[in-house]
């Protein structure tokens, strides 16, 4: 649970307390829903942007409580930050049975950082909307294409051609040492 979730939950709880507390106060007679005079009307104003006057002050408790709840629920909704990239991948002639599990896609930037050796500070200055490259790798192959990423949810990649740059050699048994039995075979946490 993140700090945002905790804040939203606290806001929701405050709103519920105000609404339930208002109901209890109404029930016990501490407040009433009677219409008040113009002089006793409650007025709420925020920098001329928002102005509310009510002749039923008790309702204010419920309105503020509900505002807490609605705001908390709205803010705690998970935001959908996903992006979708779609395009057409062409493979070198003679490639058969391309296994999608071995495809990897990464984004690289061509932004050139500046390094200040006296402070070890690193600074990057450039236009982030144009300086990205999508790079797709597959064993022995890669493809790269400039792409506009920032501020877009659906990114068309167009046609991307995988280029074979290395050949799979036959397995050289001299390159494969056997694992000692003491090493666990399960996946570890590196």
């Amino acid at each position: 649970m993140t700090a945002n979730d905790l804040g939203a939950m606290a806001g929701c709880l405050c709103g519920l307390l105000m609404v339930i507390g208002g109901m209890i106060l109404l029930y016990t007679g501490a407040i009433s829903l009677n219409r008040t005079s113009k002089e006793e009307a409650v007025s709420l104003e925020f920098k001329r942007l928002f102005h509310l006057t009510t002749h039923y002050p008790a309702l204010g408790l419920f309105v503020i409580g509900l505002a807490f709840i609605v705001t908390s629920v709205t803010l705690s909704r998970p935001r959908d930050n996903r992006i979708t990239m779609s395009g057409l991948l062409t493979v070198p002639a003679g490639t058969t049975d391309l296994d999608p599990q071995d495809l990897r896609l990464s984004l690289e930037s061509s932004l050139k950082p500046q390094f200040d050796s006296s402070t070890n500070g690193i600074t990057v200055d450039g236009d982030p909307t144009t300086m990205w490259q999508v790079v797709i790798t597959y064993p022995g192959m890669f493809a790269a294409k400039p792409v506009q990423v920032l501020g877009r949810r659906n990114i068309p990649l167009g046609s991307i051609a995988l280029v074979r740059v290395a050949e799979k050699p036959p397995v050289n048994l001299a390159n494969i040492a056997s694992l000692p039995t003491t090493i666990a075979k399960s996946d570890g946490g590196l």
Partner: protein
Amino acid sequence: MKKNLWLVLLGMLVVCLSATAQRPRGAAVTGVVVDRQERPAPGLAVFLVGPQGRSAPRTTDRYGKFLFTDVPSGQGYFIEVYWGRDLMYRKPIAVQADTNLGVLRL
């Protein structure tokens, strides 16, 4: 009394911070995978196998490079390279500090 309590809390904070600062940083392990013609091999899965088991894979980039960070140093590992599902390379390595394995020829 209140002042003493603040001093105790401050002391605990300093101890916690110094313990965090002294946490040993793991080593980096890098290398380049090439084929028989010395051409960089992209898209290969590289694993480190150690006493704790097998790492999550790193994929070689278009230059055949791979990078592991925060590897616990002072122990022996095996480096494994897979071409798809096929194991192509497995050799023992020692990681004492940041380690550049150089060129791994398949």
